[in-house]
Symmetry: C2
Subunit: 548 residues, 2 copies
């Protein structure tokens, strides 16, 4: 029996129509060196149409790929909307990729046009000659005319000013009808081995993910909200916050390149966002800034989303107790659009129990199914105890990688489920507790030691700014944990003191004996702890290890 | 370019899996004569599986239709979940339909099984022999064994106790994979002319509508919420509140047949819902009850959704000012799943301006597009002034009626848009202001007079309980308004006083001269003012009309 319902497609063009027609007085504010600039969604609609017209005039048709090399700002949002709405495919380039990775992904995706921020021209120029399929570069931003355009032109590509291209177009565009399963956008994951792998989002997956972000269990966005995505739009779609804001009519506050605590806090005080999202490092810096400036309050922020790596409970506690800020941990990955779970504690818990739930990777959202699979491939009980690899599935989870013949790619999927590479357990109420990345697990004497738990506890020590625990070979126990510690400025602590500090929360066999005090934790291009580098440094004798 | 995303279908079975696995400790509470009964979503999951198994054992396969003849209660929720999840089609029968309509819709839909509440056995029994395709009747509810089963059995149908059927089944069911565009449920609209017409919802439309209801701009549901659907589950799916609660993990408070103000208020105080939805009449009664019982507070209710007919601003004001309750108007119809717009005022308005927006039919939701079309078929400007018929489209709007050869059916669609039959305007920010049903418009001297505006104003008079304005023929002006007034118990008012009361808000030519004081406003089977009957009574001289 067929239903009688309309078969309207879930598309980015329909989001553009909605936001610009129903919420024309919402706005997008972008930070500048000394303040901000702003336009309404009504005005944005005209500019998005002009951008689509401009790209069409440069020969972008069908599902051609248009890349962005941009901070979080108004022009990046315009690209987010115009490119998929016109039927083309948005490819967000991570500006922090290593040169050879950047070249690889742009060539693999066959990007034809790159839109680059004026402030990033220098970073792009050196690689541009190697981007084989790129024909045009558009330079965007208020200072585009003053950028070193010759450094781009020497690549032989045609270089245009973004505003010049828009100025020649009409304020309306006849958005083509697209199938909701067609590609809308793509994002490459920074593989730890092999080449980066591309995830190709559909209009449908982006639309459904945005709806989920707008629901009460995630962000509950309304058009009265003001959303500050600090997490980059080139990193897992800024967690869907840009499209979700457009969908709900919420205004957007864009930090552009002003991501240090001081200008960020100033921007928050000036633009008064109600919701923000960023990785723990950013909030750690903001916390330090707030601690040092007791008269500064961020009272507009009703909810802070945090994720990208495990969120230390100590950070959440400090923000709530010292600054009245409510931080909620969420979990996901590029392959899951990314939001898959959010750590709202269940009803009726309080005190340390509440913090225990806030410390999980979150509760599965409706739309995402999860399971824990053991080494032997068997599905383990959802009892909060059995530990294995987390697998997920759902309409905004990827089923494959784009044109990948890498054998590692196929191994990421298990009969329709995505193997997340995260290890942990799932409880009876859908809460995910992650103990490690599969590649980072520490197995000591046949038992697993959770590096995440140890890091979380260590970062609760007042003298510790950051902690990264890795497994190192051990003759007797196969592996033992090595705790790499970055000490907070002006503070001091010894290995013995840290081991003593941990001893109340961990069994003796779980406590690290080995500590290394380091200046900073090495990071990947998306800002995560790079434990591969730490293990390598240990192997090469570059870490000065103390025994506690 | 194909996306790499998974093609998981949006189905009711996935909602069942989510709610019962991730929110097993949420619950559904059902009102009883002297209190309530309750089960958890975990337990609900087992019962839903048993019901599916039971229906399969009775021969329900493929897309067979299973009808419900039930109040809002736990067993009706079980049917809402089990029937679509097993691939069959839920047909909610309106218990208030006139007998010939009930027989028509059950036969037209070819219902095979009817699930009936013990308290409704008497109402069904007389019509049951005429339900030609029905083979089995399941009697549900705590008093099912004591119901007059013989009155049902005399129809020749097989009559079983719902609990007996469930008891013979397993607590798990292997939900079949269905296409999200397949039929999940159906609901007939009570046509004012011709036979009722069926809308067949798909899994996809129900899922997307539920997601929309869970977003911040509608109900912003979280698993901490408790939802009280007073609007019947046989009336436009209880506005999607049942599925939305299941999707978000919110608990449900079901009023069963206890819909009068006194037991309803008691149930609200006992079960402490955070959100509720009902038509204005219900809230009018609750308001009177609260006014008469000043020590009673409904402080758990954070938001009240109201719709089904125009919501008097006076009602919203009284609830807020005298009882601290926040009521929000929503608009929709069976054909739109139903929620299409919600009247949250825009940012930055207050005072009378806020009430003006709260008095509209609401702002279009993302997913629903709207336009105003004039008599000549031309699309009119979205300027808040131009008046015409409202047309809508979107993935939860119907595109046709089920197996309807009624010429009126085809006229309801306009190139992919649904003609709503509602007349009004649309402003630059997507707010819909409705002035009339197309069939109820009053055209006087070439100008439209809004019956809705007059009714709203009249119901703001302290002596007026209800007002229904209809057009009556006039030699000079073609039509003039006749105001039918139900006076509040113990109050009194004259036609002249009411005309004087209106004169500050309306132009002189808009003021009714003719008033009829009546005992009650006739209603349709879904509780709306039946103006057809009022016009007929006037024609037949059954109304005693006074001139003011």
């Amino acid at each position: 029996m067929k239903s009688t319902m309309q078969d309207d497609q879930l598309t980015i063009a329909s989001l553009v129509r909605h936001a610009t027609r129903v919420h024309p007085d919402s706005h997008v504010v972008t930070a500048t060196a000394d303040g901000s600039r702003s336009i309404t969604y009504g005005e944005l609609g005209g500019r998005v149409a002009r951008l689509a017209g401009g790209l069409r005039s440069l020969g972008i048709t069908g599902d051609d790929r248009v890349a962005t090399f941009q901070w979080n700002n108004q022009e990046h949002l315009e690209a987010y909307l115009a490119i998929p709405a016109m039927g083309a495919v948005l490819h967000t380039l991570n500006i922090r990729l290593f040169p050879e990775q950047l070249i690889y992904v742009a060539n693999h995706a066959q990007d034809k046009v790159v839109i680059v921020d004026d402030s990033l021209v220098g970073l792009l120029a050196a690689q541009l000659p190697h981007l084989e399929t790129v024909t045009h570069v558009l330079v965007a931003g208020p200072d585009a005319a003053g950028a070193d355009l010759d450094s781009l032109r020497s690549s032989g590509k045609e270089v245009l000013l973004y505003e010049d291209v828009l100025a020649q177009q009409e304020e309306t565009f006849d958005w083509p009808e697209v199938d909701e399963r067609d590609a809308a956008a793509m994002c490459y994951t920074s593989g730890t081995t092999g080449n980066p792998k591309g995830v190709v989002y559909s209009h449908r997956s982006a639309y459904l993910h945005s709806l989920a972000v707008c629901t009460g269990n995630v962000a509950g966005l309304t058009f009265a909200d003001r959303v500050l995505p600090i997490v980059p739009m080139f990193h897992a779609n800024a967690w869907g916050l840009a499209y979700a804001a457009i969908m709900s009519g919420a205004s957007l506050c864009m930090p552009d390149r002003w991501l240090q605590a001081e200008p960020l806090v100033r921007f928050i005080r000036e633009t008064r966002p109600t919701l923000s999202g960023a990785v723990p490092t950013v909030w750690n810096d903001v916390l330090t800034h707030l601690d040092n400036n007791p008269d500064v309050q961020l009272d507009s922020l009703q909810r802070i989303l945090c994720g990208g790596s495990a969120v230390p409970v100590a950070l959440m506690k400090a923000l709530r107790e010292r600054h009245g800020l409510d931080m909620v941990q969420a979990w996901g990955m590029t392959e899951t659009s990314p939001v898959a779970s959010v750590a709202n504690p269940p009803l009726g818990v309080d005190g340390e129990d509440e913090w225990r739930y806030k410390g999980t990777a979150g509760r599965l959202l409706c739309g995402v199914e999860g399971r824990i699979v053991g080494d032997d491939g068997a599905v383990l009980p959802r009892d909060g105890v059995a530990v294995g690899e987390l697998e997920v599935r759902g309409p905004w989870v990827t089923a494959s990688y784009y044109l990948s013949d890498d054998p590692e790619s196929e191994a990421k999927f298990d009969n329709g489920w995505l193997r997340t590479g995260d290890v942990g357990n799932l409880d009876e109420r859908g809460y995910i507790t992650l103990t490690d990345r599969a590649k980072d697990v520490i197995k000591s004497g046949g038992e697993w030691i959770s590096s995440v738990d140890l890091e979380n506890a260590l970062m609760g020590h007042p003298a510790v700014l950051e902690a990264a625990v890795v497994g190192i070979p051990d003759e007797k126990w196969q592996e033992r944990p090595l705790a790499n510690i970055v000490v907070r400025e002006g503070a001091s602590v010894t290995a013995a003191e840290l081991r003593e500090f941990l001893s109340s929360d961990f069994a003796k066999w779980q406590l690290p004996e080995a500590f290394a005090f380091i200046d900073q934790v090495p990071r990947t291009s998306v800002g995560k702890f790079d434990k591969k580098v730490l293990r390598q440094r240990f192997r090469e004798g570059d870490l000065s290890v103390e025994q506690a």
